[in-house]
Symmetry: C2
Subunit: 283 residues, 2 copies
Amino acid sequence: MFDLDEYMEKLRTRIDTAIDERMPPADARPAVLHRAMRYAVLGGGKRLRPVLCLAAAEAAGGCREDALDAAVAVELLHAYTLIHDDLPCMDDDALRRGKPTCHVEFGEANAVLAGDALQALSFELAARAPAGPRYPAGQVVIELARAAGSLGIVGGQAEDISFAGRKADTDTVQFIHRRKTAELFRAAARMGAISADAAPSVLEALTIYAVELGLAFQIADDLIDAESGKPDPVSCLTAYGVPRAREESRRHTANAVAALEALPGEAGMPLAALAKSIQAREA
Amino acid sequence: MFDLDEYMEKLRTRIDTAIDERMPPADARPAVLHRAMRYAVLGGGKRLRPVLCLAAAEAAGGCREDALDAAVAVELLHAYTLIHDDLPCMDDDALRRGKPTCHVEFGEANAVLAGDALQALSFELAARAPAGPRYPAGQVVIELARAAGSLGIVGGQAEDISFAGRKADTDTVQFIHRRKTAELFRAAARMGAISADAAPSVLEALTIYAVELGLAFQIADDLIDAESGKPDPVSCLTAYGVPRAREESRRHTANAVAALEALPGEAGMPLAALAKSIQAREA
């Protein structure tokens, strides 16, 4: 029988090794920068986005190893955005995953630079990831760049901080969730699928799956934050209230699972199990 | 007769149009972010790096238009590094090219984000730039990523700020100049040459040319800064003194011009004129 925890753990272990191998050594000059980069990336995290990338490659009939560069690229991109989000001029967070944030540990300038360098390394790895023969050579990089840029994550963050504690309306919350979370989920799945030379219908199904998963994940995260007593004014809870947020989350999860029906045979099964487990987190 | 000013002006005009076409419109949401990006990029600048990229493509027998995406990518990367270098936690500069710096005009958070988004857009454009059939598909992106990353520009900046007003030794000044300046000159020339499918001997000659040009340019810049009364402690002048700095600058320019002899016919002539004009700036 399929065991999601075992599957995720196997992918996570492979991803952690791959990240370590692809980062410059901690003693390469300038050592403080390389230590800051490693601190931010190797200090834990669920590795959900790179897992999604590898699982999408497998669901598209490809090989896990071929998608590893793409998976690490996605995780480094995510790690850089967290460093910059935590900066004093942004969310000004002192703790992340129970540890001091990068700027608290290494100073603000080194934190900005560690984020900048992680973004560059992320694109270097995306450029090394093979695109299947069906796709243009630069497609893996283009997917990542769009998710990362001013119409993706950075645009979502800029809109988010512009509210500075004010309550945002439903439209704005959706604008921000789509960009800050769903776009990188989308890119992760597409980069994996493209490296596996996915058929167009499979790429389309995985794209819908990933966007819906990202939206469900973000609502689940907002619900968990609210329960733990740190509600965000720019959150679906302030915009919708808890009952509608739960309903939206279930709807996105159901859409994600339904999209997988376009995949052949049992190919979508691990991804369906992943979506249901994210839904279960908030129950 | 060849007129360098006319040649440079023609390339600069083409580059400015190409940049404008490739940036999201100023009113795209979030507008403050897109205005900050445009402010930082379109507010002047010599466009030396993208000119080098186009001129290298032409010197390698290629077509200017094929190298435009690569050229714009290089300029956006350069613009992002200037925004982040100017931040309060870095060099804390209030003016750039006679105008308020990006964080003074748009706030610190938007400046960090505008830089981040420009880096992502830079890689998107690099991924659209064609690599000649001699080269791996991702090579243009890889050249840019290496120049940009922790072993390139960001590494140079991290080393630079670690001195925080203390005097640096010759070895350290060279480490920093190589990374903060010469690496992006190198990438600019190589990206242009690769898009033109340069023969290996031509790529090698252009690489040497660009590194030597970058080193000469940085020394010339340090000499000009010193004359205008804002000497930098991490500068070749503090490390070498003015007479040796002038001598080093001449040596690098001579090396740059000599490297062009490997190019066929008159192909290297515009680049040789460019190197001599940079040398002449400090005379």
